[in-house]
């Protein structure tokens, strides 16, 4: 069990709840969703509570994350895109904090489950579709018809555009899920080498230095990946929202 790299993704029920034949139990995953939201919310709330004109260190972390996401959204979707700012910021913070919390040993990684990332991706694409049709009506379909394409190629191009649009939620969710999953499995495997080599005596313990160093390095890499994937998720969200705002481009 200890050396099983898949075990960390196991979902275990903490408070069993069943409604209408479906299992809605409060699980370790739910616990870490709550922890993610609580940690992110509390950090943002408490660090800004003094409303310092000259920010403290922690306050400037909150402000930097605000301005980071704001400039990301403004660059990708223009000033009209700022109506989606709370949404993009929530997504970014949720994914980032979930990824970072998952790096702690024995912690569950919420984003390592495809259903969670896919739900978030569908939320993004759903927002794009609903807002696009609400704002532009059928003009939103211009998104699939690029300008300046010769008539002969148009059906083919439209087909490609539609497929690329439909694959967006899949690529968006699988990218995050696979990165988290693969990173945690790799970490676990290398960490497992350390314990199994260490059990072999002095020579084994000496040999275990190598996978230990690898584990340390991978932890650093995973820290980068945790941030990077949250960033990528947010940036792609901004770009998809830009399609909903300006389907002509």
């Amino acid at each position: 069990m200890a050396t099983d790299p898949i075990h960390q993704f196991q979902i275990s029920k903490l408070i069993p709840i069943e409604i209408g034949g479906l299992d809605f139990s409060f699980t370790n995953s739910s616990l870490f969703m709550v922890a993610t939201v609580a940690a992110a919310g509390a950090f943002l709330y408490l660090t800004t509570s003094s409303r310092g004109l000259v920010p403290s260190r922690m306050q400037s972390v909150s402000e930097m994350s605000y301005e980071f996401v704001a400039s990301m959204l403004r660059d990708a979707a223009g000033s009209h895109g700022m109506r989606f700012f709370p949404f993009v910021f929530s997504l970014f913070m949720f994914v980032l904090v979930a990824n970072l919390l998952g790096l702690f040993p024995y912690f569950f990684t919420v984003t390592s489950h495809i259903v969670v990332t896919f739900a978030l991706a569908l939320l993004v694409i759903g927002t794009v579709l609903v807002y696009g049709f609400w704002k532009h009506g059928f003009g939103f379909l211009k998104l699939f018809v690029p300008e300046g394409v010769p008539g002969v190629l148009l059906p083919l191009v439209v087909l490609i555009e539609v497929i690329s649009f439909l694959s967006r939620p899949i690529s968006l969710s699988v990218r995050l899920f696979a990165n988290m999953l693969a990173g945690h499995i790799t970490l676990k495997v290398f960490a497992g080498f350390v314990t199994s080599l260490g059990a072999l005596g002095v020579a084994g313990a000496a040999g275990a230095v190598l996978p230990l160093a690898m584990t340390v390095a991978l932890t650093g890499l995973e820290l980068l990946v945790a941030f990077l994937q949250a960033y990528v998720f947010a940036v792609l969200t901004c770009m998809y929202l830009n399609d909903a705002l300006h389907p002509g481009h």
Binding site: S12, L22, S25, S29, M33, G41, Y45, L181
Partner: protein, 193 residues
């Protein structure tokens, strides 16, 4: 019509599976790869919706307006401070201009004073020189007069000496006394040549 019963069946099936699975899952993970266990999906989706929804509302209602407010207050304050700085700079510029003007005036005044002083000094020097020159002239005239007087006396003395000498020579040569009047007439005649 066709899908619904099939889905219902499948749902029943998965629900049934959940029960059997939970018994086994306590020991190991017989259920397969955890992320693909469909029976865990409803729970994850529900709790994701609850937590993310609350998170979204909390950020939208409380945190983001607060951070936006902080940033706005700060940028307002910075703009205000910049305004004030610009105003102060204007004041400083005005003070510098006033100072420079005053300096130029003072310089002009100083130049005027210097010029005046120079002029007076020059006038005084000229007057002094004139006075000295006139003094010198009078002294020169005096000296010339004295020289003329001395020359006259010397010349008149020359006449007497010449008379005496001529009288002495005549007396020596001729041996007789010469009449004084004819002697002085002779000397005068020589002198006048």
């Amino acid at each position: 019509m066709f899908v619904a019963p099939a889905f219902a069946q499948e749902a029943d099936h998965t629900a049934g599976e959940t029960h059997t699975e939970t018994g086994v899952a306590e020991g190991g993970h017989e259920g397969g790869f955890p992320p693909f266990l469909v029976e865990t999906y409803p729970s994850q989706l529900l709790w994701l919706a609850i937590t993310f929804g609350l998170f979204y509302l909390f950020l939208k209602r409380v945190v983001l307006p607060r951070i936006a407010g902080i940033l706005e207050v700060r940028s307002d304050r910075i703009a205000q401070d910049l305004d004030q700085a610009a105003r102060m700079k204007e004041d400083a510029d005005a003070a510098v201009a006033a100072y420079e003007q005053e300096l130029a005036e003072a310089r002009k005044k100083a130049a005027a004073i210097a010029q005046e002083a120079r002029d007076t000094a020059k006038a005084e020097a000229a007057a002094e020189r004139r006075k000295v020159e006139s003094g010198l002239d009078s002294k020169l005239k005096e000296a010339e007069a004295r020289i003329a007087l001395i020359k006259d006396t010397a010349l008149s003395d020359v006449g007497t000496i010449a008379e005496e000498t001529a009288a002495a020579i005549v007396q020596e040569l001729v041996g007789g006394k010469v009449d004084k009047a004819s002697l002085s007439a002779a000397v005068k005649a020589v002198q006048q040549q």
